[in-house]
C-alpha cells in the first residue's frame, strides 16, 4: 500500500463527491451521510457517465446520465443492471483523506 494525503475530508460535501485525476483516469472520492469515504473509478461502465456527479444515497451512487446504481463498497451495479466499477482503498485519519495510490503507480510504471 502507498497512502497519499489527498487533503481535508471536509473538502467533499456530505453525500457528495470530488474527483482525483490519476494516470488511470479520474477516481471519484465519495463522502456518505455518516461521514465515510469511498474511492471508485469515476467512469460509468454503461456510457461513461461521471459518477462523481451522481446522487449519493446510503452507500451507493446513481449515475447522472441513465440512473444505473452502484455500490460504493463493492463497485457492483445494483438491481437489474450488470457491470462494475473499480474500487480503491481509502481511509480518513485525523481529518485527512488517505488514498492508496499503489495501483495507479503500477499502471504508470508498466
Amino acid at each position: 500500500m502507498s497512502w497519499l494525503d489527498i487533503g481535508p475530508v471536509d473538502q467533499i460535501p456530505l453525500r457528495g463527491a470530488r474527483v482525483v485525476k490519476t494516470r488511470v483516469g479520474c477516481v471519484a472520492l465519495f463522502r456518505t451521510a455518516v461521514d465515510e469515504v469511498f474511492a471508485t473509478s469515476d467512469r460509468c461502465p454503461h456510457k461513461g457517465g461521471p459518477l462523481s456527479e451522481g446522487i449519493v444515497h446510503g452507500r451507493a451512487v446513481t449515475c447522472p446520465l441513465h440512473n444505473w446504481v452502484f455500490s460504493l463498497e463493492t463497485g457492483q451495479a445494483q438491481g437489474a443492471d450488470e457491470g462494475s466499477i473499480d474500487t480503491y482503498a481509502v481511509r480518513v485519519e485525523g481529518g485527512k483523506i488517505l488514498l492508496d495510490t499503489s495501483r495507479f503507480e503500477a499502471v504508470a510504471a508498466a
Binding site: 482525483v20 456527479e53 446522487i55 495507479f104
Partner: protein, 814 residues
C-alpha cells in the same frame, strides 16, 4: 512487611483497581492515595443525575472514610502530586514526599478549553468534577438564568439537560450538523434533538463560536461567527478531553497521546503502572469507563504478580438524560462490504440501525427503544454470525427462532388490545368491531374510529386488518409508492409534510418510517422539493438531493461537459450581451453555439472546471442563469407585440419580461414554460405552453396545461382579465397552486388532469382572497429563491467544488 504502593488520582479507574486489589490480598500493599479534588472516590458518571436533581452527592460516593480506614489507606485528598522522582522512588505532593515500591498513575484527563478570546473569563467552566456541577446547580437557584453549552456531545448534552431540569434557559451550540455525531447517525441525532427541544433546550447545529464576551471580568454572552449573540450567565465548554500526561512526561515516561502502557498496564518504568484516561494502549486512548474497569482488574493482578492481559473491546454509549433513550456501539467508520438494516417506528419515535459486515454486526445505533442494546452489543463483541436470523434480527431477541413472518398472518396474530393507530390510540379490537359493524372502506374506518386519520402511517396496517377480517371482499388498494424506500404515495407524502409540519429530511425519514437511511435518487429530490416548496423560510435547499443539472446549474452532456444558457428576458437581447457571449465562447473554446427553441443562446460543450469562470464573465456583462436545466421557470417566450407588429394589441414583450423577472429562480414540480403572444395569431406559440397568455383588445386570455414535448396538448382557458397587473397576479397564484399541490415531476397538464380545471378556477379565479393569499405565498418563497445561482457558485469557495480535489497525473510526471 507490606510493600508501599502510592496511587495518584482517586478516580473511577483507580477506585476499582483498589477494590480488586484488597479483595484478592488485603495485606499485600500499604497504600497512599493522592487526589487533587478535596474528596475520595465517587462515581463521576453520576454527576449528571446530581446536576439534574435526581440524586444527591452523598448517594454517589463509592468509598467513604470508613472504607479507607478499614483498608488502611492513607488519604491525601485535596493534595496534588507535583513531581515524581524515579531515581529516589518518591512521589512529591504539595505537602511533602512519600516513597514507593510501586506507583500507580490514574490522573484521568483534563477538559479541553477552546482558546477563544474570553475563555479565561469568570463563568467559563468545563464539566468534569463536583465543583463544576455545583457551579451549574447554583445557576438554577436564581430565576431567569441563562447558560450556553459549547459542544453537543455526551457531556455537553448531559450538562444542558441537567441545567434545564433546574429551570435554567439553556442553549447548546454545536459545530457539526447533528448532535453526538461520533456516536449517532443523522437520523438518531434528529430524534435526540427533537427530545431536547421538547425539554425547552435551544439547539444550534452547524454553529461556530467566535468569541466569549465579558463584562467586569465575567462572562456575558457567546458571539457566533454569523454575528448572533447568545447572552449567558455561565458558559460550559464540553468539547473534548486530553489525557493528563504532564506528570508522566516530566518524569521521563514514554508518552504519546497518553502515557504508554503495555498489556499488563506497566509504563516504560517497570515499577510505575498506569490506567484510566491518562494512558495510551496500542494507540488507543479512552473516554468511557467500561474498558477502564478491565484495566483496573489487570493492573491489580499485575501488582499481585499474577498473569493478566488487557484487551481493548468495543464500547457502547448511553446518554444519561431522562426521556432520551439512546444507545450506540461499535463501528461506523468506512470499510468494505457493509450493509445496513434500518427500522423506524414513527408513532413511538423509535429508530434502530444495524451495520453488518460479513454477516456479523459491527455497529448498532438505537433511539427510543434501547431494550435490545445489550443483546446487539453482545453479538458485536462476540462476532456472532447472524446469517440465520438476518430477516428478523432488527426486531431483537424476542423474535428469534420463529419462521419468517407473513405480514397478513402477523396482523391476524396480533392481540385484540394491540395498538394500531398511535396518534388516536385505536386498538385492533376497535377496528375489527367497526368492520363487523359495517365499515367496508378506509374512509368508513377513519370516520368511525379515527384510525389512520391523523398521520396516516398506520394505513397499511388498517388495510391488512380489513383484509383479514373481510376476507376476499376487500382488495387492498395498490397505490403507486414513490419508490422502494417507502410505501407512501407522492400525494400522501405531500399531505403528511404539511399536516405534521415536517421541516427537514431527517424528520421525513423518521416520522414517515422511511426504510432506507436517506432515501434514493428517486425519492430524495422529491422530498427536497416538497420541503422547500412548503417551508421556504425554514428549509434550506439541499444541493446533494438534486440531479446533477440542478446541482451544477448547467445541463450535463453525453460526454460529461456542460451547456451554458444565459437568460434573455422575454427573448430580448442587446449587442453588448451578444458580444459578451461571443467573447465567452472564444475564451472558453466553446465548440457549439446554438439558438435554442426557447429564444436564447446555448453555449454547448463547456468543461466542468470552466463553469464558474464563464459564469463570472457572463455575470460581468449583466447576464444571469437561464435555468435551462431546472425543474423551475425556464423561458417566457414572447412575440414583438405592439412595439413593432401591425396586429399587436398589447405590449406582449413587456409582459413577458415582467413575468420572467417575477418568476425566475422559482422551483416547481417540473419545468415551467410560459409564452405571451400579442394577438390570436399567436407567434409565440402560447397555446402549447404550461401557461400561455394571448393578448386581445379587451385584455389578456390566460390559458394553462399545454405541452409540446412527448405529448402535444393545447392549453385550456383559465380566465380572461382586463389588466396586466391582474394577469401577473393570476399567473403567480396559479404557479403557487401548482407548486403546493402537484406531484414532483408532473407537468401542469398532468396535474390539471388530476385535480380538474374547474377546481383550479375556483382557487385562483373565483376566490379573490385565495388568489391574493397564493400570490403572497409565492412572493415569500421568491424572496429566498429569486437570485442568480451562477453568481453564488462563481465565488471562490463554492467554485472549488468544480475542480478535482487533487491531480496525481502531474505528481507522477515529476
Amino acid at each position: 512487611m507490606s510493600k508501599k504502593l502510592v496511587v495518584i488520582g482517586a478516580g473511577m479507574a483507580s477506585g476499582r483497581m483498589l477494590e480488586t486489589l484488597f479483595d484478592a490480598d488485603p495485606a499485600a500493599y500499604d497504600v497512599t492515595l493522592f487526589n487533587t479534588e478535596p474528596r475520595g472516590n465517587y462515581n463521576r458518571l453520576m454527576l449528571s443525575p446530581v446536576l439534574s436533581g435526581e440524586k444527591t452527592y452523598a448517594e454517589i460516593v463509592t468509598h467513604d472514610d470508613d472504607w479507607y480506614a478499614q483498608h488502611n489507606v492513607t488519604c491525601r485528598f485535596g493534595e496534588r502530586v507535583v513531581h515524581i522522582d524515579r531515581d529516589r522512588k518518591v512521589v512529591v505532593g504539595e505537602n511533602g514526599e512519600v516513597p514507593y515500591d510501586k506507583l500507580v498513575l490514574g490522573m484521568g484527563s483534563t477538559p479541553f478549553m477552546i482558546p477563544l478570546p474570553g475563555h479565561d473569563l469568570d463563568g467559563v467552566i468545563p464539566y468534569r468534577d463536583l465543583e463544576d456541577t455545583e457551579r451549574m446547580m447554583g445557576l438554577g437557584a436564581k430565576t431567569g438564568s441563562k447558560a450556553v453549552v459549547i459542544g453537543g456531545g455526551l457531556l455537553g448534552l448531559e450538562a444542558a439537560a441537567g441545567m434545564a431540569a433546574q429551570g435554567v434557559d439553556v442553549t447548546v451550540v454545536h459545530i457539526m450538523g447533528h448532535l453526538m455525531e461520533r456516536q449517532l447517525d443523522p437520523a438518531a441525532g434528529y430524534l435526540l434533538r427533537k427530545a431536547l427541544v421538547d425539554k425547552g433546550i435551544t439547539v444550534m447545529c452547524n454553529a461556530n463560536s467566535k468569541e466569549i464576551l465579558g463584562q467586569d471580568g465575567k462572562v456575558r454572552a457567546l458571539l457566533l461567527d454569523d454575528g448572533t449573540e447568545l447572552p449567558c450567565d455561565l458558559l460550559v465548554m464540553a468539547v473534548g478531553i486530553r489525557p493528563a500526561t504532564a506528570l508522566g512526561e516530566a518524569a521521563g515516561l514514554a508518552t504519546g497521546r497518553g502515557i504508554h502502557v503495555d498489556d499488563q498496564m506497566v509504563t516504560s518504568d517497570a515499577d510505575i503502572l498506569a490506567l484510566g484516561e491518562c494512558v495510551e494502549h496500542n494507540g488507543a486512548v479512552f473516554g468511557l469507563v467500561a474498558p477502564l474497569y478491565d484495566q483496573a482488574k489487570v493492573l491489580a493482578q499485575t501488582l499481585l504478580g499474577q498473569e493478566a492481559t488487557f484487551v481493548n473491546k468495543e464500547v457502547s454509549t448511553k446518554l444519561k438524560v431522562t426521556g432520551c433513550d439512546l444507545f450506540s456501539a461499535g463501528d461506523f467508520a468506512e470499510g468494505d462490504d457493509r450493509e445496513d438494516i434500518v427500522f423506524r417506528d414513527p408513532a413511538r419515535g423509535v429508530y434502530k440501525r444495524l451495520i453488518l459486515k460479513d454477516n456479523r454486526i459491527i455497529g448498532a445505533v438505537m433511539y427510543g427503544d434501547t431494550a435490545d442494546g445489550a443483546w446487539f452489543y453482545g453479538m458485536i463483541k462476540d462476532g456472532t454470525d447472524v446469517s440465520d436470523m438476518r430477516d428478523t434480527l432488527i426486531f431483537g431477541p424476542a423474535y428469534q427462532g420463529g419462521a419468517a413472518l407473513d405480514p397478513m398472518a402477523a396482523v391476524a396474530a396480533l392481540p385484540d388490545e394491540a395498538e394500531i393507530c398511535g396518534c388516536n390510540g385505536v386498538s385492533k379490537i376497535d377496528i375489527v368491531t367497526a368492520i363487523q359493524g359495517g365499515a367496508t372502506t378506509l374512509g368508513d374506518i377513519r370516520a368511525t374510529t379515527k384510525a389512520s386519520a391523523s398521520c396516516g402511517t398506520c394505513t397499511g396496517l388498517v388495510e391488512q386488518l380489513m383484509g383479514t377480517t373481510l376476507g376476499d371482499d376487500f382488495v387492498i388498494p395498490t397505490d403507486q409508492a414513490i419508490c422502494g424506500c417507502t410505501d407512501l404515495t407522492h400525494e400522501a407524502l405531500r399531505r403528511l409534510i404539511k399536516s405534521q409540519e415536517l421541516k427537514s429530511q431527517e424528520a421525513v425519514w423518521q416520522e414517515l418510517g422511511w426504510q432506507t437511511l436517506n432515501g434514493c435518487h428517486t425519492c430524495r429530490p422529491a422530498v427536497n422539493y416538497y420541503l422547500l416548496a412548503d417551508w421556504p423560510l425554514e428549509y434550506a435547499d439541499d444541493p446533494q438531493s438534486r440531479f446533477v443539472n440542478e446541482r451544477r446549474h448547467a445541463n450535463i452532456q453525453k460526454d460529461g461537459t456542460y451547456s451554458v444558457v444565459p437568460r434573455m428576458w422575454g427573448g430580448i437581447t442587446t449587442p453588448d450581451e451578444l458580444r459578451a457571449i461571443a467573447d465567452a465562447a472564444d475564451k472558453y473554446n466553446v465548440p457549439t453555439v446554438k439558438v435554442t427553441g426557447g429564444q436564447r443562446i446555448d453555449l454547448l460543450g463547456v468543461k466542468r472546471e470552466d463553469l464558474p469562470a464563464i459564469w463570472f464573465d457572463l455575470n460581468q456583462a449583466g447576464m444571469v442563469s437561464g435555468h435551462a436545466y431546472s425543474k423551475g421557470l425556464r423561458t417566457v417566450k414572447t412575440c414583438v407585440g405592439t412595439d413593432h407588429c401591425r396586429f399587436g394589441t398589447q405590449d406582449s414583450t413587456g409582459l413577458g419580461i415582467k413575468l420572467e423577472k417575477e418568476l425566475w429562480g422559482s422551483w416547481t414540480p417540473h419545468k415551467l414554460k410560459l409564452a405571451v403572444s400579442g394577438c390570436p395569431r399567436n407567434c409565440a406559440e402560447a397555446t402549447c405552453k404550461d401557461i400561455g397568455v394571448i393578448c386581445v383588445d379587451s385584455g389578456y386570455e390566460i390559458s394553462v396545461g399545454g405541452a409540446a414535448g412527448m405529448e402535444v396538448k393545447e392549453t385550456e382557458l383559465l380566465c380572461k382579465v382586463a389588466t396586466e397587473a391582474e394577469a401577473m397576479e393570476v399567473i403567480c397564484a396559479f404557479t403557487q397552486l401548482y407548486r403546493e399541490q402537484a406531484k414532483y415531476l408532473d407537468r401542469i397538464y398532468k396535474w390539471v388532469a388530476k385535480v380538474g380545471l374547474e377546481w383550479c378556477k375556483e382557487q385562483v379565479v373565483d376566490d379573490l382572497e385565495n388568489r391574493r393569499a397564493l400570490a403572497d405565498r409565492f412572493e415569500v418563497s421568491q424572496s429566498v429563491y429569486r437570485t442568480d445561482p451562477w453568481a453564488e457558485q462563481a465565488r471562490p469557495e463554492p467554485a472549488k467544488q468544480f475542480t478535482p480535489i487533487a491531480d496525481l497525473t502531474l505528481e507522477a510526471a515529476e
